[in-house]
Amino acid sequence: MLRKIRIAVAWVVFTLATLLVLDFTGALHLWLGWVAKVQLVPAVLAVNIVALVVVALLTVLFGRIYCSTLCPLGIMQDGVSNLSARRKGKKARFRYSRPVTWLRYVLLVIFVAALVAGISVAVSLLDPWGNFGRIAQNFLAPLWRLGNNVFAWVAERADSYAFHTVDVYIKSGIAFGVAALWLVGLALLAWWKGRIYCNSVCPVGTVLGLLSSAPVFRISIDESKCNKCGLCEKKCKSECLDSKAGTVDRSRCVVCFDCLESCNFGAIKYRTGKAVVMGASNMSDTDVAELEKGITGLEGEVSELENKIEDKVYKKGMNRRNFFTVAALAAAASPAALKAQQVERILLKVDGGLAELEDKIRPERATSITPPGSKDARNMKQHCVACQLCVAACPNNVLVPSSRLATLMQPEMTFERGYCRPECVECAEVCPAGAIKKITPADKTAISVGNAVYNRELCVVPRDNVPCTECERHCPTKAITLVPLNAEEAAREARGRPRTPILKTPVVDNTKCIGCGACEHLCPARPLSAIHVEGNVAHHAV
């Protein structure tokens, strides 16, 4: 019965977590956001005390049920292990193994050190929620979106507006590769030895293992009923049950109840600890008091960690605004690149047809742009576990996983497929880790995440001798002013009543620019826009 409940809850949570990552309508997080918010690492990063206390209490009371019912990556591995067990003769393929204690603690230390030192790559790679998010985003989201597009196709033919087509594409090769590697690796490990990853590698597993060494409710073996048949041991996917010795390593037990149901003699029970059973209430009090002390200690550690992070960051004085811009733009403006950008002109005048449009390419940004609400580069770097929830939620295809090592797979903004539209704050709504803080659309219009930089070499006005007002018209903060292209045009304007429009080019007022990318996205110059946004290391109000 307990096992069935565990499986049912796991299914529900896994489904909800997957839907949360796949959703692109912005509606589901209202109902399902909690699934991401109770994940341990995001909760630590967001200093979500409620979630931390809940998880800690659950673990202290019931053991590592978190790993069996709340962690989607753990549930995914159970699924693989289950498939493996369905093979002939493999129903009972496990046997007790000693814990790889050194590896667990070394990785935990590395993880904590990475958290403190702000080496977000290590954090992202080790965090189970981040890994789940990336796997779902890279492998399930495309299918989900294609499915939606099939509905959209049908809806279009039925004159219904219930579904609309969405873009399906791989947002980052690196994030895809990492997700693929982890998916294959985890699947192989789970196929082979069940929960070996959770009990040897996963830092969340290790921390919860510390908390669950003596949970209130625990798996225990009644020696009087046990005949040492060893069936339970063969069923234990954590390989933490030693049937000969009659012991369970509770730091590794994920409380799946598989052993409970395997025992034909009712020798395995899930019940309160021996001491409590013995009935001495004062013992129980001591127990609880000690546990509470443990929790308080942990919370202290967490806040200490937070302080250290802040300290570290301030000391570093991250000001990486540099001069790469010039180099990058010079490279982009080489003759070959310019030639490729020429708009194809039809020589023979015929009617109809569409001008070919080259796809935009991403400019090299000296500083990457983090979304509004992320406050600054370091807040993003320190808090984000690269779970891709925001990347999946971004309806304008602005957020993509970063390719820079320091912020690997964390979201950054780019404007080839859309710009950060004024009405949208989806990423801030979904972030579980406090990397993108909640903001309202009104807040957003006053947050500058970057600055637009104009590149005359690429602009269609001097290049094609056509008037263009695109960047100026679409700037939501009126940060762009158009000025005559040259003295000749200025004179023409001064004379007044020009027969043809005055050629003008933009000047950006950096005190007004919020870095939304409307100008970059809508700029007619292709494949590189003549105006692009450089990130602000620290966001500021305008």
Binding site: E156, D351, G352, G353, L354, E356, R421
Partner: protein, 460 residues
């Protein structure tokens, strides 16, 4: 993107990208209950008489021309075997065969039509029929310089070879009227008009005329030019343009009356305003339906265009077999309009004049836009929403959510995001090309402002 959809639709949009432009509401609106036309191509072929076509006689050449003329600027286009867009020649052949079998004998093309593919496709289809069964009309589309005589003559000769003919029945100076200078540049200064008159005398041009878009003075000037007796003239005429000046310059009634004074028969273009008169607002539709239950708005418009006795033929760009069949039912046999019906159309015109249409006929003269906009599709989507009564006047409207979604989702379906109105850079290259005199960049700003209002859910 550019596939054939909405096969049952009754309108005259160009085939490219037509698909998503008609909502159920508009569809239902245009096809009242009891409509007797068949949706499936050919299924109702037996219903259409082959010997009832209305013919008009050209007083100059004596040609007996069918009152329904085939406009060849909207032939169906599909993706060919090589993955490129091309004319669906097989379908063109079927359409031409069916048209000729039912009495249509006037085919109007031009070197510029459908990215320059129309003449050849039309020629292939017509060459399969005896030369005396049809008249071909084509044009001198020498829009861009240099206007040297040799180049212009080559355009004429090339038309003959593309069409596989040794004479052209109706030859037009294409789209005159924007200003006198352009007319002189294209035809007079280089001696091209003298060459054309010689060709007429030599019989390689059987009828010489011109098509008109533009200014009243230029029309008067060319009509009287050197006292040349024009054999015909092609003008835009429909019940909306009859009294409301086209591009704020001249109304169709004036053009028609002037032609009659000079004994010049009129060939009618834009009888449906690019399909807009086939999709009128519900209010207008109900007035028409009260008088003739079951008659489509298109039928009304065609009957209006065909009624004046000086009209030689009414051109319709029929993309699908059902367009052709429905039009054949209108013209074979043909019933002229009576005064009561004219009165109804006066009311309909009032309704149209007070609605928010962008006066685009999807002629595609503006295309390709160098910055990639799909101008006609953007306007078609906007107009479709006007027809369907879905334009919001306030964010408090009862149908706000529904109409907002219909506009935005429908917009993305009709026009890819990177070809939408917000991409207009205001370069004004399209301005001189629009025969309807639409201020395209201004209209783009209007469409985009509306779309942005909805996207941002602004209060208005």
């Amino acid at each position: 993107m550019e596939t054939k959809k909405d096969i049952t639709r009754r309108d005259f949009l160009k085939v490219a990208g037509t698909g998503a432009v008609l909502s159920a509401a508009a569809l239902a609106g245009c096809r009242p209950a009891g409509n007797r036309t068949s949706a499936a191509g050919g299924a109702a072929a037996g219903d259409i008489p082959t010997d009832k076509m209305e013919f008009r006689t050209n007083p100059h050449s004596g040609d007996r021309v069918s009152l329904l003329g085939y406009g060849c600027m909207r032939w169906p286009v599909h993706t060919g075997a090589n993955g490129q867009q091309e004319i669906d020649q097989e379908t063109v052949n079927e359409l031409v065969d069916f048209a000729i079998a039912h009495g249509v004998n006037y085919f109007d093309t031009a070197p510029a039509y459908i990215r320059g593919w129309s003449e050849k496709a039309t020629g292939i289809a017509l060459a399969r029929h005896p030369r005396d069964k049809w008249f071909i009309a084509t044009k001198a589309s020498n829009f861009s310089g240099p206007f040297d005589l040799e180049g212009c003559k080559n355009m004429f000769r090339r038309s003959m070879s593309e069409l596989q003919v040794d004479h052209i029945d109706y030859y037009l100076m294409h789209a005159l009227g924007s200003d006198k200078e352009t007319f002189h540049q294209r035809f007079v200064d280089n001696g091209f008009i003298d060459f054309l008159l010689e060709e007429r005398a030599a019989g390689r041009i059987r009828n010489l005329g011109w098509s008109f878009h533009g200014q009243k003075e230029v029309f008067d000037y060319i009509l009287a030019f050197r006292d040349i007796q024009w054999d015909f003239c092609q003008i835009q005429l429909n019940y909306q343009d009859w009294t409301i000046p086209i591009g704020a310059s001249v109304d169709a009634k004036y053009l028609y009356d002037e032609l009659m004074k000079k004994n010049v028969p009129a060939v009618i273009m834009e009888p449906l305003l690019g399909g807009r008169l086939a999709r009128v607002p519900e209010q207008a539709l109900s007035i028409m339906n009260n008088m003739h239950p079951g008659d489509t708005a298109a039928k009304w418009a065609f009957r209006f265009a065909g009624t004046p006795p000086g009209v030689l033929t009414v051109l319709s760009g029929m993309v699908y077999m059902e367009h052709l069949q429905e039009n054949l039912r209108t013209f074979a046999p043909f019933t002229p309009m009576n005064d009561a019906e004219y009165a109804v159309l006066d009311d309909v015109t009032d309704i149209l004049a007070n609605s928010d249409y962008i006066q685009c006929t999807t002629c595609e003269y503006c295309m390709p836009c160098p910055y990639g906009l799909d101008i006609p599709q953007i306007f078609a989507h906007y107009n479709k929403c006007v027809s369907a009564g879905q334009m919001l006047t306030s964010s408090d409207d009862d149908n706000y959510n529904k109409a907002r979604r219909a506009f935005l989702v429908g917009y993305d379906r009709s026009v890819p995001k990177l070809r939408q109105a917000n991409r207009c850079i205001n370069c004004e290259e399209c301005l001189p090309k629009c025969p309807q005199g639409i201020k395209i960049p201004n209209e783009m700003a209007k469409v985009d402002a509306y779309a942005e209002k909805l996207r941002q859910k602004l209060t208005f």
